[in-house]
Chain length 272, copies 2
């Protein structure tokens, strides 16, 4: 199934196409109006510490769902989700090193695994674009530039490391608006953590991102930095778990959770 | 130390007075501008499930801090917090039954314990009062009326049970305002989950709360219901853990976390 025909489909249909092996590419722009999620899967022994790491670092690690131990159905993130098959591509880490890419992890899942879903910035980028704020890396079809900062995350068990941020150039007069818009998506990293001189958060050369592609310093624009979902990926590599599985960057889980909700719940009772 | 002299003190001074046994009463109105927290302490074996329960039910259980296993310093909730001594009064549950009240749990704490802090409604009540919205139970010095609803929480492991709500009568023309005000405190239950006919969420008799004191149905007012911190207490009793320790209702942990923050972090880097 091609990307274009999936764009108009429901989140559930997107997941089914992925599960059936009909689509294995990136999910940007799919499942409009719902949260997409970074995925981290690990044995239960370290799951409490990883959950603490997310709780203590909610800007880079906004937790939107956690599976029961051994149950691949992430029932709080959406209808009939099977986390072994519903992500377009997975990265397999052993002792902190990425050793393999897979399209289906059924052979690796076992009764001791816990899956975590964390919010991602695809959500708020839609909102910036909708407000007429250009997002250079999208317009130019590159990957958002990401940087290691001099801000340390709050550690938990084996999980620690530097806060990683993603950078978007925002016109000076619209920085406050960009902050306000993204603050409405607390489950997708929320408001930026910093705006202005990159040196202020330990970034030496804005033209040399640690991940992703460089983006130009635009006249009249301010570099604005959001906490980034690469932070937990780096923490996982630091932790050197015997096995850990993540989504392949850009290849996210499409959930059924509306993207602008206050809390990551599929449905609350009608409040009117 | 009396309540009045504590009212002007810093959160840290309040905790020290409590630790030193100089104050053992309720904390309403203390530590202005910071979050107060419900406390739940349990052995590590069930901690991952309880944390999942909180993640899946964030309206009644807004998680603001989790200790390391065996470490009584809740360092992410404030400076020099010792969870064994800094709460005015504790309830001890064995097999789901409250068996004892204590002022200090040092003799019960061990290397296997995990402490959880959850936001509480004291925070948003301040904000309602500040906006000139009368809160009947405060004005009349009674306990907020609380009700079991017909809404089930999303279970996790041994933890399950009905959603419990607290009720405040709000003038009809100010209901939307009350919703908006409290939505700014996501770590203190946030916006209400329901407003209007109590039967809509399974409450048969508004004059007979399941916990707290009855409050009158006021002319021109609508009953508005917020998710309540008694929900996890009921879930804990249902779980029948061999041991579980909570704060005594109304006798909360006073944290250093500002009450209107987006995420439960003591301090973020300056974003300007």
């Amino acid at each position: 199934m091609d990307y274009k025909s999936l764009k108009s489909k429901s989140p559930e249909s997107v997941r089914l196409a992925i599960r059936d092996g009909l689509y294995a590419s990136h999910t940007a722009g799919l499942g409009k109006g719902v949260l997409q999620a970074n995925i981290v899967i690990m044995p239960a022994a370290d799951a409490l510490d990883f959950m603490r790491f997310c709780q203590r670092n909610p800007k880079p690690c906004p937790l939107i769902a956690v599976s029961d131990t051994g149950n691949p159905e992430m029932f709080t993130a959406g209808l009939d989700i099977d986390i072994r098959t519903d992500v377009p591509a997975y990265f397999i880490y052993r002792d902190g090193v990425m050793v393999e890419e897979m399209g289906d992890i059924s052979s690796l899942w076992n009764d001791d695994m816990v899956a975590f879903a964390l919010g991602c910035s695809f959500t708020f980028e839609h909102a910036l674009l909708a407000a007429g704020i250009d997002v250079w890396h999208i317009t130019n079809d590159t990957t958002v530039p990401m940087f290691k900062t001099n801000i340390e995350t709050v550690p938990a068990g084996r999980f620690s490391g530097a806060l990683v941020v993603s950078m978007r150039m925002i016109p000076e007069e619209r920085v406050e608006e960009a902050k306000a818009i993204t603050s409405h998506f607390p489950l997708a990293h929320g408001a930026p953590i910093y705006a202005g001189d990159p040196a202020g958060i330990g970034i030496r050369d804005i033209s040399k991102p640690d991940w992703g592609d460089a983006a130009p310093v635009l006249e009249g624009c301010v570099p604005v930095f959001w906490a980034c979902g690469v932070t937990p990926q780096a923490a996982i590599q630091n932790a050197k778990l015997p096995i850990c599985i993540t989504h392949k960057p850009g290849h996210m889980l499409v959930t059924d959770i509306p993207d602008n909700v206050e809390v990551p719940i599929i449905k609350l009772p009608n409040s009117n």
